[in-house]
């Protein structure tokens, strides 16, 4: 950003102008060749194809990764980049709608009892250090994911009974019970094949700092808290990919700085961009918001063990006092979407027939009066300090609920105190959010149905037997249509319980330079950068 340096932005402006002019000339000269613009976009620099792309693309993030070991890591900041380094047998498609083979030659052969999945693996696979992928690596990868005690992701693989690898290109996974979610679970990042020899060499602690896989990139340098640089895997199985040699994840903690650095060309992609900034960038000439759909949904959990909230009429009154559209408008500047159920909107099992709440203040007041609280009451909402998005939702809710006399008090706690209060269910209401780690609702349902994990997602409600039965059926059902019907009933059940006030879903908050192509973030959040490229600036 030096005042005396020609910064890249102004340089590109010039280059863009040149590009536009030559494109015009090309049009005028040969009357509309399709290739006219592409050549010009290389900035007039002739050379091999590789050199027409920028060597490095810099991505600004609010936080740094803290653990690159997929099995022991926690948090999206780590998870999102695993698809760059690791490949599993299967993967979700870029749009998140289907599951496709990745290192497997094809989709697996499934035995008639639905318990055994047999994969034929592509041959000749190499890790980024040049060593061959062996049967031992596959077996070790699976077993480590399935047995590491302090892994937060065991639940996604706990239906796997055992894994056999008779040779380097065959993997046979045996389930405990037949489950529709098995294919989705096989896409989970902990099952991306990793090198056992490397792990044995460096040990578990060092493994957190760098891992080796078969993905398009490998770790080059990591200065913790500052930047993490990935470089092209020289042994990547697809010739000519990835297009960009280096990806640098740079920590730019401050939201304003990240925006300014994006605009000045210090970074090329910004993540965690506040919605207000995305709105503002819509009119920028160089960069643009890139709201990829996500699985994120937000709702308010009402603790049914609270003296007021134990009354279903009171809960319904709060539903009717809530205006999700106003929340979308005021907190996401239109980027969010109102929802009628807490299921991820990108999931095929999301019941789109459930409508977002239509507020009805009069009816809400009636219900409250009927419940014996004509003058309302005071209630707290547990919030995490420093989370501006949650705080702004709470502020709008506070205003909405005050119309029926409910005084919502923001109980903001420092991050760990917040987790601790949440774990002990020391709360009246809380803003909850969910994002899937697998393209299947079973993981989410486990968080709600297994009371010990989240107190029924902070509703304080142990799900009744009929709901539990529905969930068990849904877990086992292989037929997608029948399964949809089961999940529909479950979602209707939540709606009737009035424990989760559905608010909104949001897209990923990215903003990128307009000349970048191939930026993919799947609904699960995985970056896919094989074809990510930006024209070289020099």
């Amino acid at each position: 950003m030096g005042s005396f340096n020609l910064n890249r932005r102004s340089f590109l402006k010039g280059a863009g102008l040149m590009g536009a002019t030559s494109a015009l000339a090309a049009l005028a000269g040969c009357g509309g060749s399709d290739d006219g613009g592409t050549d010009a976009s290389a900035g007039g620099d002739t050379g091999s194809e590789a050199s027409s792309y920028a060597k490095t693309i810099v991505i600004g993030r609010a936080n740094d990764s803290d653990n690159l070991d997929p099995v022991t890591c926690i948090g999206n900041i780590n998870i999102f980049i695993f698809n760059l380094i690791l490949d599993g047998l299967l993967k979700t498609s870029d749009d998140g709608e289907t599951i496709e083979p990745n290192l497997a030659e094809d989709m697996p052969e499934i035995s008639d009892d639905g318990l055994t999945y047999t994969f034929k693996v592509k041959s000749g696979l190499k890790f980024s250090d040049g060593s061959d992928v062996t049967a031992e690596d596959w077996k070790w990868t699976f077993e480590r994911a399935m047995t590491t005690e302090d892994s937060n992701w065991i639940s996604t693989v706990e239906n796997f009974d055992h894994v056999e690898c008779p040779d380097d290109t065959t993997v046979i996974v045996t389930l405990k019970t037949p489950a529709a979610s098995a294919l989705a679970c096989l896409c989970v990042f902990t099952l991306g094949v990793q090198s056992k020899a490397y792990f044995d060499k460096v040990g578990a602690d060092e493994y957190k700092n760098a891992i080796i896989g078969t993905g398009p990139y490998m770790v080059k340098e990591w200065k913790k808290g500052e930047y993490l640089t990935l470089t092209k895997n020289p042994n990547y199985r697809e010739e000519g990919l990835p297009l960009t040699e280096e990806i640098e994840f740079k920590v730019v903690a401050d939201d304003n700085s990240r925006k300014i650095q994006l605009q000045s060309g210090d970074i090329d992609i910004a993540t965690d961009v506040p919605f207000s900034t995305m709105k503002e960038l819509e009119s920028d000439s160089e960069v643009a918001p890139h709201p990829d759909p996500s699985t994120f949904t937000y709702w308010v959990s009402l603790n049914t063990q609270n003296e007021y909230l134990s009354n279903p009429d009171v809960r319904e009154a709060l539903f009717l006092a809530t205006d999700p559209q106003e929340i979308v408008d005021m907190t996401t500047y239109g980027y969010g979407t109102t929802i009628g159920t807490v299921f991820s909107t990108t999931s095929e099992y999301c019941d789109k027939d459930l409508e977002p709440i239509t507020p009805d203040v009069d009816k809400a007041k009636e219900l409250l009066a009927g419940a014996g609280y004509p003058d309302g009451f005071e209630i707290k909402m547990l919030l995490k300090g420093g989370n501006d998005f949650y705080a702004s939702i709470a502020t709008v809710l506070q205003s909405q609920w005050s119309k029926i006399g409910v005084n919502l008090v923001q109980d903001t706690q420092e991050a760990t105190a917040y987790s601790s209060a949440r774990k002990a269910l020391e709360l009246d209401t809380i803003i909850s959010g969910w994002s899937d780690d697998i393209q299947d609702p079973s993981e989410f349902m486990q968080f709600i149905f297994d009371y010990d994990v989240t107190h029924g997602y902070y509703s304080g409600l142990q799900q009744p037997d009929d709901m539990v039965a529905l969930n068990d059926q849904a877990n086992a059902e292989q037929d997608v249509e029948k399964r949809k019907e089961l999940y529909k009933q479950i979602q209707q059940g939540f709606a009737d319980q009035k424990i989760f006030i559905p608010l909104l879903s949001v897209p990923y908050q990215n903003a990128i330079r307009k000349d970048i192509t191939g930026f993919v973030q799947t609904p699960l959040g995985n970056y896919r950068f094989e074809k990510l490229a930006m024209p070289a600036s020099e």
């Binding site: 005021m330 919030l383 702004s392 709470a394 420092e414």
Partner: protein, 308 residues
């Protein structure tokens, strides 16, 4: 030299500047009956006059916010988001469509309460400890000063965060955190001056007359050593409000949507490029309050020293 500046001089055997000042103060106390003292304090110190007017203005605003704005500080308005200052919205609006001027006005009472409440207890406790440490010296002094050393060894922000994390956020706990972090300054100030005052003739005289320690401490020493703490307290009020703002910045201050200056300023941080008025204008108000209190402090200092 200005009293409000010597925050916490350490007392060495050599005369410290604070010590000299204290000696001067002792001298002033003895002059208390001179005729020029009868002049109105405001006439003798224009700083005090200006400062008092400013502070009085804000006290008025705290007591009668309706006189300054007709708006509702809690009126959220989706159609009025992020508007720049105008005749309708003197300080513009924020991302909730809140009228910032209205919120700044309504925040005055809370902020003044935070400032005064945060300072009062540390003032009393800090001065007492300083008095005891300085007067008795020896073991008691060592113990008090080592405890103090431990307190000042932590960056106060960290101590404040830890306390708020233990107690939870909110105005009351914020004030408690402030109590814990701000007493050492007063103890240091008073102790340094007591060490000097102890050697002065009037104390020696009182001792030879056989007065009790309590009487000497409170009747003879305290009036002569307290002025620098009073002056410091005026600026400490501003510092406490600022620390509260810092806590809001970390998300641990006064929760939304309660109007509070620090919270308003930090709430505007996400919008400094698009709506800088959210942070700048309320900050300006705080600076004016600070100016008022600093002037009062200066004025008191002028009055109490009267060397020139």
């Amino acid at each position: 030299m200005s009293q409000s500046d010597d925050k916490g001089f350490k007392a060495d055997a050599t005369p410290t500047p604070a010590g000299e000042a204290a000696a001067e103060l002792a001298a002033t106390a003895e002059e208390a009956s001179q005729p020029e003292k009868r002049l109105s304090p405001f006439r003798r110190s224009p700083s005090l006059l200006v400062g008092t007017i400013i502070v009085a203005f804000f006290v008025l605003m705290a007591l009668f916010p309706q006189l300054f704005t007709s708006g509702d500080p809690y009126a959220l308005d989706g159609s009025q988001m992020l508007l720049p200052p105008s005749a309708d919205h003197l300080m513009g609006t924020d991302n909730f469509g809140y009228d910032i001027w209205t919120r700044v006005v309504y925040a005055t009472s809370l902020d003044l309460i935070i400032g005064v409440a945060s300072v009062s207890l540390p003032f009393v406790v800090g001065v007492l400890l300083g008095l005891l440490a300085g007067y008795y010296g020896g073991k008691l002094d060592s113990i008090i000063m080592r405890v103090l050393d431990c307190f000042v060894a932590f960056p106060f922000m960290v101590l404040a965060i830890a306390i708020v994390a233990i107690l939870g956020s909110g105005v009351r706990n914020l004030i408690i955190a402030m109590w814990v972090v701000s007493w050492p300054e007063y103890t240091r100030l008073v102790r340094a001056e007591v060490l000097v005052a102890k050697q002065s003739e009037y104390v020696q005289a009182a001792k030879t007359l056989g007065y009790s320690d309590l009487r000497i401490m409170f009747r003879h020493i305290l009036p002569n050593v307290i002025s620098s703490s009073v002056v410091y307290a005026a600026s400490d009020v501003v510092m406490c409000i600022m620390t509260g703002a810092g806590m809001s910045f970390l998300g641990l201050g006064v929760p939304q949507p309660t109007p509070e200056w620090g919270a308003i300023i930090s709430g505007g941080k996400s919008f400094i490029t698009t709506a800088p008025w959210i942070s700048i204008l309320p900050g300006l108000m705080m600076a004016v309050v600070g100016l008022g209190l600093s002037l009062v402090g200066d004025g008191l200092n002028d009055l109490l020293r009267t060397k020139d």
